[in-house]
Symmetry: C2
Subunit: 367 residues, 2 copies
């Protein structure tokens, strides 16, 4: 193998594929980056058990071939090289030589034939969505995946293609996060993607209108993002029927400025955190929402103007759950729909109907 490549494009490719290399695999070769030089393209692959990331970049290939190099060391060396063209060539004794201006580095490599094969992707359902939109949808749901492994399926995010829409859903027993966007696709399909994989996918997605193409198979999902492919295994099992959980009716409707209520809850939560309860109480009356909290060290009282339709209400929440939701809603004004102090609260955008959050309240005796 022998090739010439620009330092910065190589570094970007390394940083992409490294997102799959968790260091948790027991297979030593998965600590490495697989590098293949073929025709005018250099292909880099990083993977662990759950996820595999492949990136292609243009390079001047003088001699084709494949190697596997230690991911951490190779990445650090490339990062520190001058911003110039790098020559990479295999020499004797399982070694590659990197030459860049006056720098010369020799590095042991592993045998590319030992690198595990990628999962075969047979195309099934395929659709496209803008990178920016998908990135937002992931950000808006992923915080609600279950953190404990008692029900593994809940550690993932449901991708539901249905009625020409893509729905993303995450839930953990205390809350539901639901995002929905129009889709140009007539198929129906469901799959649950591990939260950890999606997290890495969202880091690769850019804030731009260019599309990402998504392919489902029975066991895998493939994200095609520009020159990068991310293949993730799916979680097995059936996701909870989320639609029936979300109440359609309510007795109290609150319209409130998102940043104002977020500020109130964040301040009140400082006091709530101190008692380890995270409990904040909301009192909705007339055109005010009053947030209170207290602990051994003191108490807080916050007030925010609202538009109230329907009945007055007192209700209490884990402040962390409220903050998660308010931080991830894009619109300035939001709607809260409530029915009683023990019934779930639904939070939505005011204008665009593309997100729905459900939060269970905390029952308190002296509410």
């Amino acid at each position: 193998m022998k090739l010439l490549i620009n330092k910065n494009s190589l570094l970007e490719a390394i940083s992409n594929v490294q997102k799959a290399i968790t260091g948790k695999s027991t297979l030593p070769i998965l600590q490495g980056i697989y590098i293949n030089a073929y025709k005018n393209t250099l292909t880099l692959i990083g993977s662990d058990i759950d996820v595999c990331i492949e990136t292609k970049i243009d390079a001047e290939i003088l001699e084709e071939g494949s190697i596997v190099v230690d991911s951490r060391l190779f990445g650090e060396i490339i990062r520190k090289l001058p911003n110039a063209e790098i020559e990479i060539s295999t020499i004797d004794n399982n070694t590659i030589e990197l030459n860049c201006q006056k720098s010369c580095v020799n590095l042991i490599h592993m045998d590319a034939s030992e690198y595990p094969l990628l999962p075969t992707i047979t195309e099934d359902t395929i659709f496209s969505i803008s990178q920016k939109t998908l990135k937002n949808m992931i950000k808006g749901t992923i915080f609600a995946v279950a953190q404990d492994e008692t029900r593994p399926i809940l550690t993932g995010v449901l991708f539901e293609v249905k009625d020409r829409k893509l729905n993303l859903v995450a839930l953990d027993g205390f809350r539901v996060a639901f995002r929905s966007e129009q889709l140009d696709c007539n198929d129906n399909k469901e799959a649950v993607i591990p939260g950890k994989t999606l997290n890495e996918v969202s880091k690769i997605l850019e804030d731009k209108d260019e599309n990402v193409e998504i392919t489902f198979t029975n066991n895998h999902i493939l994200f095609n993002i520009g020159n990068t492919k991310v293949i993730s295994r799916l979680l097995e099992g059936e996701f909870i029927k989320y639609a029936s959980i979300i109440p359609q009716e309510y007795k109290t409707k609150v319209i409130v400025n998102k940043n104002e209520i977020l500020g109130c809850i964040e301040r009140a939560s400082l006091m709530a955190k101190d008692g380890n309860t995270n409990l904040v109480k909301l009192e909705i009356v007339d055109d005010n929402l009053i947030v209170t909290s207290n602990s051994q060290l003191g108490k807080a009282r916050e007030e925010v103007n609202i538009i109230l339709q329907g009945e007055s209400l007192k209700i209490a929440f884990n402040s962390k759950y409220l903050i998660d939701v308010f931080k991830n809603i894009e619109e300035e004004e939001i709607i809260m729909e409530l029915s009683s102090s023990v019934a779930p609260c639904v939070v939505k955008n005011k204008e665009v109907n593309n997100c729905t959050y459900l939060l269970l309240p905390v029952r308190v005796l002296n509410n």
Copy 2:
């Protein structure tokens, strides 16, 4: 106590005095910020055993008084309040009430009379130096203080006022860092300041020409920085006579671009780190300095153009020590003075004679 104060000036003051509150003191009241309202000034104090920081800010004092509040919680609450005027007043039951727009927070406070007295500072030697210059001098020496406590005096930085100069010196048995600047002061004085304190001082110092005033007493040093005072205890004992350690003669003199040699050493060190030795070898010959390193995973060879005066030489170093020095020299071009592969190397600025670093080499058998 009752007063009105701008949120941002209060927040800046809190963040200054919090630098002294390490949470390591066994005295619970030292987890708090002492707050005193007197005339038109609010004074905040944070301290632990070694260091004490006092900041004064303008405030509209409606009722004078003193309290102590929990540093972490008070700081977080103020940070989260709207950017507006805050009313702070003591109410019943050892409680203060903060009012800011529609936010109202009650917070338990501690008894100000229990707060330890500040050390009394009787003026002895006083001099002034620009904040920027002192910040630079601290940054350029503090990395070389000893990390282990076997010789406590070496965990500090020597402040030496001598011959109308301020010298800062740190050394740890492997290297010496020396910085020197002109001073308008005829006194002679020596004191050793704990590294940890100086670190906090350098965070408060700003990159500007305004002066910091320094006062020594027998046991303390006082930095007067704008409206902030930092008082630190001094380390007891005598500092090593550093001047005799630094050789004045050499056989080999190298002039080299600082960023180029830094890049070489950093790349070579990636390979050196892998073997846990950190060892890089330097070969100085003609107009080249060649840096090599190797480990089980590979080897690196780097070359940089130099101007050589005197003899060729091979020498080896712990790469971390070279990197520390090159990172902290301000000039583009630096001078290295060497005598043999087992004699210390002296590194200096090329133009301005205000810094001198000494590094012990590592003896290697097959050099």
